[in-house]
Each structure stands twice: as C-alpha cells, then as structure tokens.
C-alpha cells in the first residue's frame, strides 16, 4: 500500500444518489476505492451501506450521479453486466446451489465446454487452482451441501476469482464464522489484495474493522460522514462518527445483588453434541456461555429449553425438578430462550408487533382471544421497552433489527420467565440499539431473573457477565468468575489448550 493516492481508483462514485419513494437512501456520495485496498464501509443499519453496494453491483439503478470503474463511466445494465466489469459480491447468505458440486457452482453460467456439453475435466482442474488460492483444499467434485459454513464462504470468494473480479464486495462476511475461521478469512482477503483486487467490506463489528481495514468510510443517513485511514481512528471516534453522538456506555453493567439458584442443569447429555454439561444460574446473575462456534453453547441452551431432546440430565427451577419434553413445558415452568436468528426462529414476520408479543402467552377469555387486553399488553411493552414502531399492529418485518429484538424480549417477558437465555442478543443490531439491549438485559437481572448470554464476541461477555462458562467440543471446559476474567483465559479453555480446573 505505498502511496495509494497515485493509482487510478478501481471504483469511483461521483455524486451518486439513490432515492426510494420517500427515502433518500444514498445522498450525493463521492468515494474512491483504490486497487489493492481493503476499504471498510461502516455505519448503522439504514445508513445506506448496502444500498451503495447495490448501486455498484447494479442490483439497483442510481437516481443520480455516476459510477466509474477503472476510470470509465459505466452504464446501467444490471448485475450480470457489473460482473462482466469485474464487480463481484459475496453475499451474507450464500448464493450457492447446494445440490451441485463445488466445481459446478464455481462455473455456473460459464461452464467450460462446447455445443452445450460441459467439459467436466477442465472444470475440475480449473476449480482446483481457484480453490487453492482461497485456501480451500478439497475435492472440487464434492457436493456443496457437505461443506461447512466457512468453506462455503471460501467457495463464494473463489467464485469472485473465477470471474476475474477487480473489486469484491463483502457484506458482513464474519457474521457466521468462529474466531479461528475469521483469522483465516482475513488471511485470504489480504492475499487477494496483494494481487491488486480491492475489497469493499461492510461491517458492524468494531474490533474487526480495526483488524482488517486500510481505510474506513463511515456512512450515516445516506451520506458519507468521513473517509479516514484506519490509523487515524480509535473505537470511540468510530462509534461517534457512526452514531452521530456519544454512546456513554455500551455495556451498562452494575452491581446487582445475587440471590439463590434459579436454574440448575445437571449432566445434560445429547449424543454426539453435549456431554455431561452442568451449570447453575442465580437470581440477579448474568452467566455467559463462551466457546467456539460448534462448541455446544446454543445446543446446551436448546436442550434445557426443550427445543432439542436431551438423552439424559436433569433441570431444576427454583429447587423443583422439571420434566421438559418440549418448549411448551419449559415456558410453563418459567424458562425463556431468545434465539440467535430472529428472523428464522424468533418472529412470525408477517404478524403484527402485538401478535408477536403475545405469541407465547395469549390473553384469553372464555376461550377467545381478548383483543382489548392484547392491545393493552402490546402498548405497555412498547412503551416500557421503547419499541419504535409506527403502530403496534404493524407487521414486525418492517421494524429495524434492534426493535425486532425488543419485540422478542417483550414476548418472553409476557411469559413471566424466571430464567432467560439470550443467544447472540446483539447480532445484527446497531451500536446504539446494542447499548440499549444490554441495558435491558441488566434491568432484567436486577429484577431478580437469572440471565444467560451466549455470545461469540468476547467483549460482550467480559463486560456483562458475572461468570463465564466456557464450552469446548460439547463439554463444559471451565467456569470463570468475574474477578478472574481475561480474554486469554477464555480462549485457552475454548480451544482446549487449558484443561478444566
């Protein structure tokens, strides 16, 4: 990256705008992307990052301004055309055909061969070379469905190489990766840039912005707030630029009096998934579940909650042994579980805010839903949790991630749960909403509930929890009290370097 200023930009936005009915999603953006740089575009949800990327990849047509690629103004002909100019996109949800092989996916639409026949040998050989470059050492004839998430992502990146991309757009590529996989991915990304490919990297996560970026562009309300070399930024400054104000305390942990044991799980076992896991949560306590992806944190919570069957183990709530066969039993007993993936597991997206809030605990009278009571409940929760929605009857799919998350919280509060499991509560929500969410969790603990937070982002756990339970390959690797918290200690247990004490 010596004197990048002298190179011709790979991409140049000139006064580019995109207007949707009633919203100026991208507002007069000027931005240069240089060859070989990793350019992070940061900003809250709705800041216009994704829309800006869609204007480049020609998924959306700009309402004004001009996009240049390699110094040439480009016309708008749609995504295929943008690809032919060297703009590639790695989507958050992968666009892979899982029933086809790696090689078939790599060359989809551009299969080598003649007369409509595919030359399978050429396909395999070429595929091998591309896979090598993204560090995916595997047989190109393997089915995509047999690949792990991180491997599928590599394949997506290899696809960008297959089309000779000049600029690769990555939208939150680490969202589904474990720590070690993230480090590997960053290695691959750096390799790509050394060949002159520019990376446009969209991210929420502050820590990784500092690890990967050469330059950072912050967007807010469709405008570019600033573009800076990463060396000129620190975390506080970046958050201030993104949010437009100071966030006082992202993790509002306070001293809470810790009471009796609320939930005790003993010897939870599920064949090939969980082995003899035990833990307890006390009233007012926030317990963290740490571990690598696949270590069994979510699985442990789901087993206790009855979402998955356990083979053996006991669960006690406030001293009473429970017989949990399904989520219904757990909810009746007073256990709640907020899933990691709100959209696919947490919300009935087409239903209203009010209907989602009461979903786990419908107010009824004489066998009929009490609609008056339902609306009263929904309004009360909306005010209490500050859910921003134009109307409580609005369908939840139009709410922001942070507000959707609050709807899920409201639903569980309605069940009067004594213990709440939060699985990745801050994933996919804004910095501002994140602080609010942790404040809410803190309040729930203060009211005497037992709280479990599952997170892959260690600072969340280190700041919010009273104790952290670390899992490794389906077993409890260790339990660390707050006084002994350190990132190294957690990682040592999570990776199996340190044996359980």
């Amino acid at each position: 990256m010596s004197s990048p200023e002298t190179k011709t930009p790979v991409v140049r936005f000139r006064n580019v705008s995109k207007e949707f009915p009633g919203v100026l999603a991208v507002d007069s953006v000027d931005l240069d992307i240089l060859p070989g740089e990793i350019h992070v575009v940061a900003g809250e949800n709705g800041a216009g990052k994704s829309t800006l990327m869609k204007l480049l990849s020609q998924v959306e047509r700009p309402s004004g301004g001009e996009v240049e690629i390699s110094g040439e103004p480009v016309e708008f002909h749609g995504p295929r055309y943008a690809q032919s100019l060297g703009v590639a996109m790695v989507y958050q949800e992968f666009a892979l055909a899982s029933h086809l092989s790696i090689a078939e996916n790599l060359f989809m639409g551009r299969e080598p061969g003649r007369f409509g026949f595919v030359n399978r040998r050429a396909e395999s050989e070429e595929a091998r070379g591309l896979l090598e470059r993204v560090g995916l050492r595997t047989d190109p004839d393997r089915m995509v469905s047999s690949l792990a998430v991180a491997e599928q992502q590599r394949l997506e990146i290899a696809k960008t190489l297959a089309i000779d991309a000049k600029v690769v757009i990555m939208d939150e590529p680490t969202a589904t990766l474990a720590e070690r996989e993230i480090e590997d991915l960053f290695g691959v990304i750096r390799d790509l840039t050394s060949g002159g490919i520019a990376i446009l990297y969209i991210s929420h996560r502050l820590d990784e912005i500092f690890r990967i970026a050469d330059r950072v562009t912050v967007m807010r309300d469709g405008k570019i707030v600033d573009t800076l070399p990463v060396g000129d930024l620190d975390e506080d400054k970046l958050v201030r630029l993104m949010v437009g104000r100071d966030i006082e305390n992202l993790y509002p942990k306070t001293e809470v009096e810790i009471g009796d044991v609320v939930l005790r799980a003993e010897g939870i076992t599920r064949a090939n998934v969980l082995k003899d896991c035990s833990f307890e949560v006390r009233s007012g306590e926030i317990l963290g579940f740490a571990g690598l992806v696949g270590a069994g944190r979510t699985e442990l919570a789901r087993a206790v909650f009855g979402a998955d069957r356990m083979d053996s183990g006991t669960v006690e709530l406030e001293g009473r042994e429970l017989n949990i066969m399904n989520p219904q039993d757990a909810i009746e007993a007073g256990i709640g579980y907020l899933t990691e993936d709100r959209k696919s597991e947490g919300l009935a997206l087409q239903l209203g805010v009010d209907q989602n809030i009461t979903l786990a605990h419908l107010p009824t009278r004489f066998g009929f839903i009490n609609l008056v009571e339902e609306r009263r409940i929904a309004r009360r929760r909306r005010d209490e949790l500050n859910i921003r929605t134009p109307s409580i009857r609005r369908s939840v799919q139009v709410l922001s991630g942070g507000n959707q998350q609050k709807v899920v919280v409201a639903k569980w509060l309605e069940t009067r749960a004594r213990v709440l499991f939060f699985d990745e509560p801050a994933r996919g929500i804004d910095v501002g909403a994140k602080a609010e969410m942790f404040g809410l969790i803190e309040d729930l603990a203060k009211e005497g509930r037992g709280i479990v937070i599952i997170s892959s982002y260690l600072p969340e756990l280190l700041n919010m929890c009273d104790r952290i339970l670390v899992m490794h390959e389906g077993e409890v690797a260790g339990l660390i009290p707050r006084a002994e918290f350190s990132e190294e200690r957690v990682m040592a247990l999570a990776t199996g370097i340190e044996e359980a004490a």
Partner: protein
C-alpha cells in the same frame, strides 16, 4: 405514549396498512362488483331471482369447502383431498339415511364425521409422520376416491328422504338454506381465525413454524386440528351437494380442490402461509361462480370459462405480489 396511541390503532394499523388491506380485498371485491354489474347489463336473465338462487346454491358447497382449505393454506399447507373426501362423505351420508335408515340429521353428521376422519389421517401424516402436505393430501385424494368407488362400483346411490333436500335446496323466507349455511360457516370461520388460539396459531405456524414451536405452541396438535376442520368442512360440503342432487354421487367433486384453492388464492391467501381471510375466500368463490354463470348466460363457449378463471388467478396473485413488493420497498 399510550394516550397518543391510538386512533390509528383502534382503526387497525396505520392508514396505509388499512388502505392496502382494503385495496387487496378490493381488487378481488372490485372485480366481483364489475363482473356483477357487467352481467346485470349484458344479460336480462342474470338478475332474475331464479338465476341468483342458482348461483348461490351452486356456490354454497364450494364456499364451505374453500373456507376449510383457506385455514390449511394459512398454515402454509395445502389440502388436495377435499374433492374426493366430499364425495366419500356425501355417499356415506346418503347410504346411512337411504339404506341404513339413520335419521337425516344424524346421517349428515355421519358424513361430516367421515370427512373429519379423513382430515385426521391427513393431519397425522403431516404433523406426526412429517409428510409434506401436498403429498399427504395427494395420497388421500386417491385413497378417498377409491374408497367411495369400491362399495358403490362408481354407481350413484338414491333413495334419500325428502327432508334431506332441505339442506341443499330449501328456503327460509326467500333465502336459500345453503346460503344461510355458508353464512354460518363463514362467521364461524371468521371468529376462529380472528378470535381463537387456533386461528392465531394457524397464522403463526404459517408465518414461521420454528418461531411458533419455540414460543411453546403445540404445533402437532394444532396442525392436526386444522386438517380435521378442513376434512369436516369437505364432508359438510359433500352433504350439501348430495342434498342438491338428492343422491350420493361417487363421481362428485373431481377437480373441486382446485376451485377451492383458487377461491382462497384469489381472495388473498398465500401458499407460503401466514395470509388469508374468510371474506377474501368468499369473494374468490363467488367471483369464480359469476364467471361460470356469466359464460353460460352469454353463451360463451364453455371452454373459455376455464381460460378466464385461470387468467383471474394469475392477475389476482400478481396484483397481490406487486402490492406487497411496493409496500416492502417503501419501508
């Protein structure tokens, strides 16, 4: 805040949401009105009491069956078996009253029960055995039809008591009984969907099955009940139809499932689940009926009505998708 809430909420959502809800039903309802007005002008016979009576009576069993199918569609399922089940129920009911001497009312209940039993099998196949609803009910479509052919040898069953004709052909005042039956089923269906756990959970399961399960909703039980209701209403529809022809017809209802699904879809139900209303389905059922009736009155080649109905299905669903996309973009 709560004091500012709320004129809009009492009115049911924001103005735009309300409008879009009204408009989507309006699209189908508007088409219904347009067709109605057009036929009133184009055909001197259309508005005659006899013709209107005929439309009402002939649509009655389709409407009853379509309401059950709507409930299934809301859960993101499908019930292809309703035509066969209606035939089986109709024939069993007729046999009960004509051959076994069972009192008419009990025989009608017997027919409905047969439908409910078929629905129970569908429901268990879907919710417990985990079969795809399309496959489960496709199987039942064939099984129920076979079961009605075996004992009857595909021959009609006659000899019903006169009182049985009342269900499908009778009149109270000047209102045909089958229309009253449709109204009662529709009101009941509306109440179930809007005001009971079953209805709410049907929408929730159709919108997101896993979220519903993790919210503690006993999915299997409710899904099974939904198919039982669909089967029972198919059985009831079969009894109405039997009453209209005063016999049990083993060949009744071939392809009827497609009319029922078309009515639901024209009325705004989504095959992906989570959407659908009783009012919409009624509008859909009567729109199809008017097109059929109008084709006959205007002496349009009978095969054209098939084409027209197909086009109406396309237009209705395209309109619905367009409306939804526009709503999503403007957010």
């Amino acid at each position: 805040m709560s004091s500012t809430a709320t004129t809009e909420e009492r009115a049911g959502g924001t103005l735009r949401e309300r409008l879009s809800g009204v408009i989507s039903q309006l699209a189908a309802a508007g088409a219904l009105i347009v067709v109605f007005v057009f036929l009133s002008i184009a055909s001197p016979v259309f508005l005659s009491a006899d013709n209107l009576y005929n439309i009402g009576v002939q649509t009655s069993y389709t409407a009853v069956i379509a309401i059950g199918v709507t409930l299934v569609i809301i859960t993101a399922g499908i019930d292809l078996s309703v035509g066969s089940v209606a035939a089986l129920s109709g024939v069993v009911g007729v046999v009960l009253m004509a051959k076994a001497g069972v009192p008419v009312v009990l025989a009608i209940l017997g027919g409905i029960l047969v439908g409910a039993a078929c629905g129970l099998v569908n429901g268990l196949l879907v919710s417990v055995a985990g079969l795809n609803p399309f496959i489960a009910t496709l199987g039942m479509l064939s099984v129920a039809r076979g079961m009605v052919y075996i004992p009857t040898n595909a021959m009609s069953v006659f000899g019903v008591p006169d009182s049985f004709r009342l269900l499908g052909q009778g009149v109270i005042g000047s209102i045909p009984i089958p229309i009253i039956v449709v109204a009662v089923v529709a009101v009941a269906g509306y109440v179930v969907l809007a005001r009971t756990k079953l209805g709410r959970y049907a929408y929730a399961m159709g919108s997101n099955r896993e979220a519903a399960r993790l919210s503690g909703i006993p999915i299997r039980r409710y899904l099974t009940v939904v198919y039982v209701i669909s089967g029972a209403l198919a059985g009831f529809g079969g009894m109405i139809a039997s009453s209209q022809v005063a016999s049990g017809q083993p060949n009744f209802g071939i392809g009827l499932e497609l009319d029922a699904i078309a009515a639901a879809v024209i009325g705004g139900a989504s095959l992906f689940g989570g959407q659908g209303t009783v009012v919409g389905t009624l509008i859909g059922a009567f729109l199809i009926a008017l097109i059929r009736n109008g084709s006959v009155l205007l002496d349009v080649n009978i095969y054209y009505q098939q084409v027209i109905i197909g086009v109406v299905i396309w237009v209705a669903v395209l309109w619905d998708q367009y409306r939804r996309r526009r709503l999503a973009v403007s957010e």
